[in-house]
């Protein structure tokens, strides 16, 4: 057996540790977004309890954004016979003092849940402020430019991710 000499320099160890930390962080973010966050706190609501689940999710969103929730403008429950079930609605909220300058005095928040047959629980699909100032609906041809659009999109993703972390660990 003619094995090459073992490589275990400090540089190699550092690279492997860095890669390990990066992979662990990536795995945690994936686990958080795909499994932990969507169903968190929703296991107690049955399939017929869609309104309560919607209220719970909207309240969590309001708390993490520093908003005061007032009521639901619209709530809907739809299901396929013996299959999927969906619940969605729009909640009326009042932004806190920090957000009021950008968002206005009153906003509508879209909340959308679906019933996961595998987990037998409602899961969050989407929650967002409608007609938010950074929304793509205000884009015009060439304004803002491509780099600014990319920056806005990345900023939105980062903001949503940090909001989720703040909702789970306030």
């Amino acid at each position: 057996m003619n094995l090459p000499p073992a490589k275990c320099g400090i540089r190699r160890t550092a690279w492997f540790s860095l890669a390990g930390v990066f992979l662990a962080a990536l795995g945690f973010v994936l686990y958080f977004n795909l499994w932990l966050y969507p169903g968190l706190g929703l296991s107690g609501f049955s399939r017929a309890d869609s309104n309560a689940a919607l209220g719970h999710v909207a309240l969590g969103f309001a708390r993490s954004r520093g908003m005061a929730m007032e009521s639901f403008d619209m709530v809907k429950f739809r299901e396929v016979e013996g299959g999927e079930a969906y619940a969605w609605g729009a909640a009326v909220m009042r932004p806190g003092a920090a957000d009021a300058a950008a968002l206005g005095e009153k906003v509508l928040v879209w909340v959308y849940l679906s019933f996961d047959g595998f987990r037998r629980s409602w899961v969050r699909v989407d929650a967002q402020v409608l007609a938010a100032p950074d929304s793509e609906m205000y884009f015009e041809p060439g304004k803002p430019g491509q780099f600014e659009r990319a920056r806005l999109a990345l900023a939105k993703i980062a903001e949503e991710e940090s909001r989720r972390f703040r909702e789970v660990w306030p």
């Binding site: 403008d73 619209m74 809907k76 739809r78 396929v80 016979e81 013996g82 299959g83 999927e84 969906y86 969605w88 729009a90 300058a101 950008a102 968002l103 206005g104 005095e105 009153k106 906003v107 509508l108 879209w110 959308y112 409608l130 007609a131 100032p133 950074d134 609906m137 205000y138 884009f139 015009e140 803002p144």
Partner: protein, 152 residues
């Protein structure tokens, strides 16, 4: 070292077997054959997919509705309090109006899509009720039983 030619090797039979396997499994998934292997399951899946699509399109209409309401909130606020626009870098009174026009056009499109999805669901339900395909390889469902029950 001489290898056996492909035509004489065991590899030929392995490849041949898997090609046949893939062809059979693929054929079983075509609508012509799948609708005859298990008609109940096939047409229930068609109806279920159409129902899911109709629900999705209805949700898009609601999203469009609520987006328009939120835009109107912004517009009334901008009309009564012009400095409320200062926070949003993208937004001016004109861009709010243009966004409102674009979202109205989207609202019309979403309504058309939703109506088409409902028509499609009705069509699939009629098709499933008429059960045009005769089953092969398994017994037909008992007449009188509800859809999705007592399948062989």
């Amino acid at each position: 070292m001489t290898r056996p030619r492909f035509c004489n090797s065991a590899l030929k039979w392995i490849v041949f077997t898997f090609v046949i396997w893939v062809a059979v499994r693929g054929a079983q998934r075509t609508p012509e054959i799948a609708s005859r292997l298990d008609p109940g399951k096939f047409y229930d899946a068609l109806v279920g997919d159409s129902a899911n699509a109709a629900i999705m399109k209805e949700r898009h209409v609601d999203f469009s509705n609520e987006t328009l309401r939120a835009l109107d909130l912004r517009r009334t606020e901008a009309a009564s309090n012009p400095e409320s626009l200062a926070g949003g870098l993208l937004i001016s009174r004109e861009s709010l109006d243009r966004a409102r026009e674009r979202e109205t056009a989207r609202w019309y499109r979403e309504n058309v899509n939703s109506e088409q999805a409902r028509f499609n669901l009705e069509r699939q339900q009629i098709l499933a009720a008429s059960k045009p395909a005769e089953p092969i390889l398994c017994q037909p469902a008992q007449s009188g039983s509800a859809a999705g029950e007592a399948r062989p």
